[in-house]
Subunit: 334 residues, 2 copies
């Protein structure tokens, strides 16, 4: 039924070992023999069994990727960066959505490890002790992607979320705004939530602006929660003249909420965010945002993982990618 390496060997009149050599491009084969083998392979329609190879060689050339939600544009972009580089180095990826739920994350990490992936890319919520525990039992390299562990012990690739938020808010302050609201992610989320909130507070502090709790709303990263938060701000006695959103999607919700209320962006209220997803230029006014290089985060983390898997020396295993503000039309001066 299925043709094996042994069949090819017999057909070509050589041993299994030789067939294995030509399939794996081992140079120690006489060109003539190589040719015979290739012909036999062709004739029989032989397809190497990667599972058997994996068992024998203890390498599967596949890496596991745990991601919060592939249907989220931001993560999908990271995933594309990962897969492109994986592909370049002849790895495949097993993709698992874990929705930033700790239990699900631990579970998929374990099944990925059972499947003998050669490495693991982890993109999730907080990295807890349990995560660290699970990582420890893996005897393959792991890199955190668009995530970092407070402990600072696992290789990772990310931007500096605190500083990105700081820059965004500072841009608002430079434009003359003093009453700046924030639409935040949950503070349980170390990157998009907590760190960006800290950046917001620090920018205020550095500028000598007071921190006003009523100017902060927690959203769930979705468009609607941006709308809701903005609705709240608009009803405030003294409403903000600018809002900083932790993500593009909530920012767009805020913009539409402002417009639906008969106000204009940026004339009446300025909006800025961190992300710079493709949607940022797909709104009117186009969204000014601090760009987070998602594709690159994916690509760089995969590249780092390949080095780790090959046991190459890496100079810096905790890389912070630069972010930059891209000025479009949603921020105006006061």
């Amino acid at each position: 039924m299925t043709v094996t390496i042994y069949d090819v060997a017999r057909e070509a009149g050589v041993s299994m070992a030789t067939v294995s050599r030509v399939v794996n491009n081992n140079p120690n084969v006489k060109p003539q023999t190589r040719k015979k083998v290739f012909e036999a392979i062709e004739r029989l329609g032989y397809r190497p069994n990667a599972v058997a190879r994996g068992l024998a060689s203890k390498k599967t050339t596949t890496v596991g990727v745990v991601i919060p939600d592939i249907s989220n544009a931001i993560f999908a972009e990271v995933a594309r960066g990962i897969e492109d580089i994986a592909n370049m180095y002849h790895y495949n990826i097993i993709l698992c959505n874990a929705d930033k739920k700790k239990d699900k994350e631990i579970r998929v990490i374990n099944t990925l490890l059972e499947k003998q992936v050669d490495g693991l890319l982890f993109m999730g919520g907080a990295v807890t002790e349990e995560h660290l525990q699970a990582f420890k039992t893996a005897n393959v390299p792991i890199v955190l992607c668009a995530t970092t562990d407070e402990q600072g012990v696992i290789p990772s690739v990310d931007i500096d979320h605190e500083s990105a938020a700081f820059d965004a808010v500072q841009a608002l302050i430079k434009a003359g705004h003093t009453r700046i609201a924030m639409i935040c992610g949950t503070l349980q989320d170390p990157a998009n939530g907590y760190a960006r909130f800290q950046g917001y507070k620090r920018a205020l502090e550095v500028a000598g602006l007071p921190y006003d709790e009523s100017l902060v709303r927690i959203g769930n990263y979705r468009y609607e929660s941006g709308v809701d938060a903005m609705k709240y701000f608009l009803e405030l006695g003294e409403r903000p003249t600018a809002v900083f959103s932790a993500t593009d999607e909530m920012a767009i919700g805020a913009i539409h909420c402002i417009q639906d209320a008969g106000l204009k962006v940026p004339e009446n209220i300025s909006v800025i965010s961190v992300d710079n997803s493709r949607m940022a230029s797909m709104v009117r006014p186009q969204l000014t945002a601090v760009a987070q290089p998602m594709y690159d985060i994916g690509a760089v983390s995969m590249r780092l993982l390949t080095k780790l898997m090959k046991k190459e020396a890496v100079e810096n295993a905790r890389v912070i990618l630069p972010h930059e503000i891209v000025n479009r039309q949603s921020v105006g001066s006061l």
Copy 2:
């Protein structure tokens, strides 16, 4: 170093077979023995090797997914549907981007098959003879997802693209429009391109409206190409009063182009599309669109694949999911 089933057997004082039974939940094990084995597993930190299991059982509980581009919101949504159901049936997915390029598609199909996936979900461009050839050599089930083969021989899950386009254009016609433009995908693309174009033409025809070549532009599915196409239409001597876009993203480009020209949607020009991605409600005016149930297409195709993999009987191996028009604010009556 690595603890194997044999180690567990020795530790628990039973045979490998027994350990295998408890790991695989085989009921034929005395509770007491089961307990002993679990304890040994716990003590040793045993983790079953899925590769070895795959070799022995000829099942990997992983399926291959070839997708055009995971960073495209539409496909990402399908992917989420696939993964959710896969997960539910304890399968993992290996994800490969192939950008609708034939060569890349054939290549990844083959590596997926080498990796001994238990089934294949194919989402791509046209299904050519070469594809069929590659599918034939696979001895695992394959289902086309958001794609169909003209030949009609491969199980598939999709919507009726022609009819979806027809419905969209008909909605415009019912609203009194007679000069209707179309922003189309490439005609080489059977679904988003060719079929939707056919639906457009048929709706015109059924309504007794003339087909005017100058009212059709080919886009590349991206926002910018929607802008460009619309720009062209606006410069026409007699410009259209409505435009049908093959995808949301191009439709949003068109809307913004119209607005940037100082015109209003839908007062001056109506816009409708097929897709209904999450972005449809994230524009002003909100986009009226024929909804394509992407998540469901993914979920249903994965469900179908599980049945095929289990060799269960399936009544209908070519499922067409229903589409429906969701009326929002971008279409007005004439």
